[in-house]
Amino acid sequence: MAAVQDGQLNLEVEKDIKTEITNDGSGNINANSSSPGSTSSGGKSKSPAGSGEDQQTLLAVLQFLKRNKLTESVDILRREAGLSADADDSPVSESAGAGSGGVPSVGADGGDANSLLSRVSIATPVAPPATAPPKVVAASGGEDQPDVNVVLSAYSQQGDPVLYPLYYNGLKKFIESVLDCHRAELSQVFYPLFVHMYLELVYNNHENEAKQFFEKFSGDQECYYEEDLRILSSMSKKEHMKGNETMLDFRTSKFVLRISRDSYQLLKRHLQERQNNQIWNIIQEHLYIDIFDGMPRSKSQIDAMSGSLAGEGKRDANKAKVFYGLLKEPEIEVPLDDEDEEAENEEGKPKKKKPKKDSMGSKSKKQDPNAPQQTRIPLPELKDSDKLDKIMNMKEATKKIRLGPDNLPSICFYSFLNAYQGLTAVDFTDDSSLIAGGFADSTVRVWSVTPKKLRRVKSAADLSNIDKESDDVLERIMDEKTASESKILYGHSGPVYGISFSPDRNYLLSSSEDGTVRLWSLQTFTCLVGYKGHNYPVWDTQFSPYGYYFISGGHDRVARLWATDHYQPLRMFAGHLADITCTLFHPNSNYVATGSADRTIRLWDVLTGNCVRILTGHKGPIHSLAFSPNGKFMASGATDGRVLLWDVGHGLMVGELKGHTDTIYALKFSRDGEILASGSMDNTVKLWDTLKAFDDVELDDFTAATGHIHLPENSQELLLGTYMTKSTPVIHLHFTRRNLLLAAGAYNP
């Protein structure tokens, strides 16, 4: 908290610096900055951006949003635009803060727009923080993508292409020469600068220079950017930039860097001395530098957090309060329990009471301060069958094995044979009685892994003949003739990438390449609803732990929250810069986590639709997420083979588990949260000691406030076991209620 206040206090200083710079250098954009020292043009050569131009930018943004069907954002933006007169009242970001300075410079105008827009982007971060370009480029008429052109237009300003390498080299030399403690921090600038300089060259048709520039400096970039560099390298013409999504990401979102004040001033002083306007412009327009006070971060600290498509998350993006506590369990057990108990055994009773108290009893007495209000979002009423299930759950929980480093779980592996590489998704029911698989041939198959076979409900005609008053009516409605161990569900027209059982085992969700999410009944084994809206492949879907709601996310970068009885989504969570690859509900159902190919994880508030956490640190697309049972922690796995652990409440990375050598497709915490199991494409299941991992983290106020955590290098100590399969990638993991670990994958001879 202290740091935030510091930030506010230091605003004044910040202002001064900004004005200085605008006076000194950034004014002469097109002025030939080739000869350092010779430029001496007055500071205010930038034409003051009139309100008309502001308007134009806004319109462009609106247009962009509309095109992407982000109606919510449009509304918010409209509302905000109406208030734009007093937009200055709350300086949201430090760069915006500069705007409140008295100097009527471009910086101030840009700041206005910035503050306005960044408020939008806080509400719905998809809004591109398109800084008002000082000169609006005359977009070539008749373009079918005017909005994109506006977005790109910022690149219209250009220097001498020959000098780009010189500038870059100069900066490189400077950064290499600064003190060690600053070097790591300042090195962060390289990558975004490199990208934008390259794009600028490409945009201005300096194809050869761009190529040379790329060849010369691409080797310097951190290895985890390789993927993006590859995409970048394929882009060598201005025409390519249109419609390239990655390209738009670079442009529409500012690359966020966190730099300590000292390092930042060092950089600024250098750029001023050298009159290096080209670089300064890029830093100002395309980078968001989040300045903090205190010690500069070390290389390892920076490496831990960087790697996402758009830099790190802003510090204030993770400040919102997250109610990570669990909801109170409804007290339904006691009366029903007794009936059951009397019939069965006597000694089971006292036993059962105890663990209840351990797990949630104390919480159910008084409200957990970190838990959301019980009615924060409306949850479905419990049905009798749900209550019965809960009782079953309690009973099983009493038999649960206490896991720990000395007491590792047994793993039962379900191999899909003869799947011919077609298995794309797996899910278990919570009680582990059913297993479902999604296949590349568009089918969904459900197996019963208990002796109880799958049966279909009788047809309507037959049902009318049933005596509805009889005791075993539930038995009678089932058609014995259809009993089988597995059922196939046909309906999709593309590979099924996501699959999820409803908690009550009555429904099954599947999401597919065909852009739909389908809801299947497990009573009739037919499709009930096809939820359309994504239009592009839907990579993942998941039911809320309380049923009724579900989340889906896919190639269109928007996660949608649905209710089973609405054919349109209730919420759309937009903000990711690339495909949403995995989705997960928080155990209390109030939040939703999404992992994306932009290498960030976002946590969304179901109630407000806001993004409340942006977690960066992965170096590859994220393919698996897991919440700890107490809702406090989260684990994520990516193609880089690392598992990262997060503290949801503080929005901090608290651990890094290295060991896998390929994409991690499955993560699961044990029922008590002591053990994390991870399954990977490298054919292994690994078990990690999470209790120790969370204990080892020292959280003082400072680290909590700044988010600069020292990650202990203890992956090897935390690794409890590695279990190789025989050529079977592990794509799903599940802990039964008794803490037996189930794993699944397709045998791949």
Partner: protein
């Protein structure tokens, strides 16, 4: 249309391989643009247009490839398929390519010439009537679910569903780089007992103290492993053929044996040492079968134990005497078998550092060249050499045919020497003929002139010539893959009428291959008067037949050698002592002392008829020259006779293993 796809595939490997600096330069050649333009009827395409087009196309293809990779990742695969590309195209609102489905990778042909390189997809002309007439392929099996224990309370059980506890690479690493500390993570692996976990922890502690010591490897076997070892070794050398077959099967397939490997290796080498001295042919055969089984096990890293195994095998090839009665016992079969084993190990284990093959070749050649070498050893050397492949035959054996022929002539036509020498010379002759004929048939230009052969190869020339002619004829015939076979007959009554090959086929469920009854056997069965006709009800016969090729004009049986071994089930190992009761000259019957009424209660009769190649049939198939590695199915080593398993009293594969 499929052109596009071809290009996408053609460009993918380049993209993957290219290092970063070159990334922006990967562009399709302009010639491709021209070629494609021409293919759709645009004749004259400007050079600049081509360049612009190729750049654009390359960019789009890369874009599509990137999207396709997404689908691959979400499909949880490592291999990009055509459907991924179809989906990526769909994403871009491009009509996907229909009818170009391929599960596997697309076999591109590569051609270059005139400085141009070309990847192309070969489209063969297909005769529709062929497709229509071929029977439908079997319906692929449906997806099914199978559960197994990957781990039980943190310990991975050694069951076939799990990978071998110590993968071959690790075994190799342990033996070649003993200083390398056990990889963390692997130390937890199930097979390794708690004790070793402690040791590796200890090793870790040492490492911290900058002390690197060779980690102590555990040679302690758990009680279950000891039991297993005892059971297996007893079965391998015991008298019950069914048990032996199961034991060998277990050795050949069980993934968790590596800890017992040193014991097995010592068991074999010691066993050979003792039994060669005692001339115990049967036991030597059993031991060699164990070697074979060990070599067949894909999870074992045998390199470490070759120093024990190879001398044992070589002993069985070249030893002067392997049996009590060299004139009647078929030690030749053992020599052949061991020679094949040797060849197989040369093929799998020979490297530039250990030079096994050249060392072995030298050993064989040296003793062959020695004038005083006995016929038995001589036979072994030649067998050992000729199994090493046609090249070895060509360079080492063919040039010596004349000399060898003279030596054989001296024995067979000269003054009567000992019977043993005569038999030996006969065997050497047939062996030479068998191996050389096939090689000559392949290498020598066609006119097969008797005289010419005599001039080239001396005494053996004419016979060789006829063999070569036969070999050529058979090669031309491409006759069915007949040859040395294994036949297992399980039937209630011990009669040797030989339509049993069918029964054997169905009965010998685990038998690697039951192909065809060789002619020699058929002949044999027509003679019920031979000792092969069993008189007591509960006996087992191992009938091994081979024929001396020299007497090819004779009835095959005359040259064949039959060992009949009857023993009681469950009798102890060492009781097998050979005693021969032969009526027909080359027939041998080995009878175990322990043969009593014990086995009388068992109605089941088993015949393992092991036939070694007759000269006639072998000349056909020996053109393969060397054993195909690990092809137990076609391997002529029929000693590994398939048996119908009776599971009584034997715990199946692996369950004995405690780990």
């Amino acid at each position: 249309i499929s052109n596009h796809e071809v290009f996408i595939y053609a460009i993918l490997p380049t993209m993957a391989e290219e290092r970063r600096p070159k990334q922006c330069t990967v562009v399709l050649p302009t010639e491709s643009m021209k070629a494609m333009a021409e293919s759709i009827g645009v004749g004259q395409l400007q050079e600049e247009s081509c360049a612009a087009l190729s750049e654009e196309v390359s960019y789009r293809i890369k874009e599509i490839a990137q999207d396709a990779l997404k689908f691959m990742h979400h499909g949880k695969r490592r291999k990009l398929t055509t459907s991924d590309i179809d989906h990526a195209l769909k994403l871009k609102n491009v009509e996907p390519l229909y009818g170009f489905q391929s599960q596997e990778f697309i076999p591109f042909r590569f051609a270059s010439g005139g400085g141009r390189e070309l990847h192309f997809y070969e489209e063969k002309e297909v005769d529709l009537s062929d497709i229509i007439n071929t029977p439908l392929p079997r319906v692929p099996l449906d997806v099914s679910l199978k559960a197994h224990w990957l781990s039980i309370e943190g310990v991975q059980p050694a069951i076939p569903e799990n990978p071998p506890p110590a993968p071959k690479e690790q075994q190799k690493a342990e033996s070649t780089e003993p200083l390398k500390v056990v990889k963390p993570g692997q130390e937890e692996e199930g097979s390794i007992q708690k004790g070793q976990g402690a040791i590796s922890a200890e090793a870790k502690g040492k490492k911290e103290g900058l002390m690197r010591m060779k980690p102590r490897s555990t040679h302690e076997l758990s009680v279950e492993q000891q039991l297993y070892y005892k059971e297996i070794t007893e079965a391998c050398v015991g008298s019950c053929e069914a048990k032996r077959a199961e034991a060998l099967q277990s050795i050949a397939t069980d993934p968790g044996l590596y800890q017992m490997l040193p014991r097995f290796s010592t068991f074999i080498s010691e066993g050979v040492r003792v039994n060669v001295v005692q001339n115990n042919l049967a036991l030597l055969i059993y031991l060699m079968r164990m070697v074979k089984a060990l070599m067949d096990n894909p999870t074992l890293y045998l390199e470490k134990y070759l120093h024990e195994l190879i001398p044992a095998v070589v002993t069985c090839i070249v030893s002067k005497q392997l049996c009590l009665r060299p004139d009647v016992d078929n030690h030749w079969a053992l020599r052949d078998f061991a020679a094949r084993l040797m060849a197989q190990s040369c093929k799998t284990f020979s490297t530039t550092t250990n030079n096994i093959q050249s060392r072995i070749t030298k050993t064989f050649t040296k003793s062959w060249l020695d004038e005083k070498t006995q016929w038995t050893t001589r036979y072994g050397c030649i067998a050992g050499l000729s199994e090493l492949g046609p090249d070895v035959i060509k360079t080492l054996i063919l040039p010596r045919l004349t000399v060898e022929g003279a030596r054989i002539k001296a024995v067979s036509e000269g003054p009567v020497v000992s019977n043993i020498d005569k038999i030996g010379a006969d065997h050497v002759q047939s062996l030479l003929l068998k191996h050389c004929a096939s090689v000559i048939a392949k290498t020598r230009p066609l006119p097969d002139n008797m005289e010419q052969y005599r001039a080239d190869y001396g005494y053996l020339g004419p016979t060789l010539c006829s063999h070569v002619v036969k070999a050529r004829a058979q090669a031309a015939l491409q006759a069915q893959q007949v040859n040395r076979t294994t036949l297992t007959i399980t039937q209630p009554r011990p009669t040797l009428t030989v339509s049993q090959s069918g029964i054997g086929g169905s009965g010998g469920s685990r038998s690697p291959s039951i192909i065809k009854v060789p002619s020699s056997l058929t002949l044999m069965s027509t003679r019920p008067g031979t000792p092969t006709q069993p008189s007591p009800p509960a006996t087992k016969y191992i009938v091994m037949a081979t024929s001396a090729g020299a007497s090819s004009t004779q009835q095959v049986l005359d040259g064949s050698l039959v060992i009949t071994l009857s023993s009681s089930s469950g009798s102890s190992v060492t009781s097998t002592v050979a005693s021969a009761t032969s009526t027909l000259q080359p027939l041998v019957k080995l009878e175990s002392r322990g043969a009593g009424g014990l086995g009388g209660s068992r109605p089941l009769q088993k015949y393992i008829v092991v036939s070694l190649p007759t000269s006639a049939s072998s000349s056909l198939e020996s053109k393969s020259g060397m054993l195909p590695p690990s092809s137990s199915s076609t391997s002529p080593i029929s000693l590994e006779a398939g048996m119908k398993m009776d599971h009584t009293g034997y715990v199946p594969n692996g369950t004995l293993l405690p780990i």
